[in-house]
């Protein structure tokens, strides 16, 4: 990896484990109940989910963390340009496991997060399962929109080249 973690920092790894699955792993220097809180209390969640480098602040966050309960998060610089993301919790095991749907689209993943405590540290594993390979690709941008723009650019360059000749 090109971006090496600093010595004190635990590395974040991302692995594509199948055609429609991604796994993110990270260890935190604290017990599972604390890490779990940070994922399930809106006032805490809002403090880390949208780091400054993401460029877009979180406007609001509602979470009803129980099986069948919903969540709704809005991002944006103001209410007029806000984007909302929402879904519901499929499984909630305090300090151990969270599963939620992402319902703002049909091809979004189901996300499972597990918290495993060992010696006061917590290994967090986030797993995303997409409904299909196509859904994954649509989301990952691997087959995404830019090629079309390049096609157009190619055409433009050809036209300009022809005119110049």
């Amino acid at each position: 990896m090109e971006s090496k973690p600093t010595p004190m920092k635990n590395p974040t790894t991302v692995e594509r484990t199948s055609e429609r699955e991604l796994v993110v792993r990270r260890t935190f220097n604290g017990p599972a109940h604390i890490v779990f809180q940070a994922w399930t209390k809106p006032e805490l969640f809002m403090r880390w989910w949208a780091p400054k480098s993401m460029g877009v602040p979180m406007l609001s966050c509602e979470m009803d963390v129980r099986v069948g309960g919903g969540y709704r998060i809005a991002f944006g610089h103001d209410a007029a340009s806000a984007m909302e993301f929402f879904g519901k919790y499929l499984d909630v095991i305090p300090n151990a496991r969270l599963v939620w749907t992402n319902e703002e689209s049909d091809d979004a993943a189901v996300t499972t997060v597990t918290f495993e405590e060992k010696d006061g540290m917590t290994l967090l594993v986030l797993h995303e399962l997409y409904p299909s390979k196509e859904a994954f690709e649509a989301n990952s941008g691997a087959e995404g929109g830019l090629p079309e723009q390049f096609e157009q650019l190619d055409e433009l360059l050809l036209t300009l080249g022809a005119e110049g000749a």
Binding site: M1, E2, S3, P5, K9, N10, T12, T13, V14, E15, R16, L22, V24, R26, F28, N29, G30, I34, V35, Q37, A38, W48, W49, P51, S53, M54, G55, V56, M58, I73, F75, G76, H77, S81, M83, E84, F85, F86, G87, W100, N102, E104, S105, D106, A108, A109, T111, L126, E128, N139, S140, G141, A142, G144, G145, L146, P147, F150, L153, D154
Partner: protein, 171 residues
């Protein structure tokens, strides 16, 4: 479809965002600061060294098929050859002194790994390097990892704070 539309919405800053509770999996949505644009077409043809470099940089499981494809000296040779010029299966078979069937198998392995793309025109199947998809995916995975890393750095700080608070409350 609403999903895609959402993804293409831009905020007023001009940033594309995908910041929902859904992990930020949309390339579109990672924000310009995160997304690396795929190489333009002209840059598609890259050397084998470039490909290998990418593989070292991005060790993802998805790349296993690519590594497997590259584990064979003949297949590495084919990629080097295609890095210089596109070639037909027949050309490649001659260059590597192999049967057509044998060469088709090698090209098939490279094709499945996304390293080579082939196109049949008339009776001739032309092969060329197909690294673009691989580059895009590797770049996307890395930008995705960086976003999580930034989030988790912020979460580290919060965990420290909560730990301290718990300790203080306990005393």
């Amino acid at each position: 479809m609403r999903h895609l539309l959402l993804h293409r919405q831009r905020c007023r800053t001009g940033e594309a965002v995908r910041p929902g509770l859904a992990p930020p999996t949309c390339g579109e949505g990672l924000g310009r600061g995160f997304r690396r644009h795929p190489a333009p077409r002209l840059a598609r043809r890259r050397s084998i060294g470039y490909i290998l470099n990418h593989m070292v940089q991005y060790s993802q499981t998805r790349l296993d098929t690519s590594f497997a494809a590259l584990s064979d000296a003949t297949r590495r040779g084919i990629l080097e050859q295609l890095g210089r010029a596109d070639a037909s299966i027949t050309d490649l078979a001659e260059t590597f002194r192999m049967t057509l069937t044998g060469m088709k198998k090698h090209v098939g392995v490279l094709e499945r790994a996304g390293l080579v793309i082939t196109q049949k025109v008339g009776r001739v199947r032309t092969c060329k390097l197909g690294v673009r998809r691989l580059e895009e995916e590797a770049a996307w995975l890395e930008s995705y990892r960086q976003l999580w890393d930034a989030r988790f750095d912020a979460l580290d700080k919060l965990v420290e704070e909560l730990k301290q608070k718990e300790k203080d409350d306990g005393e």
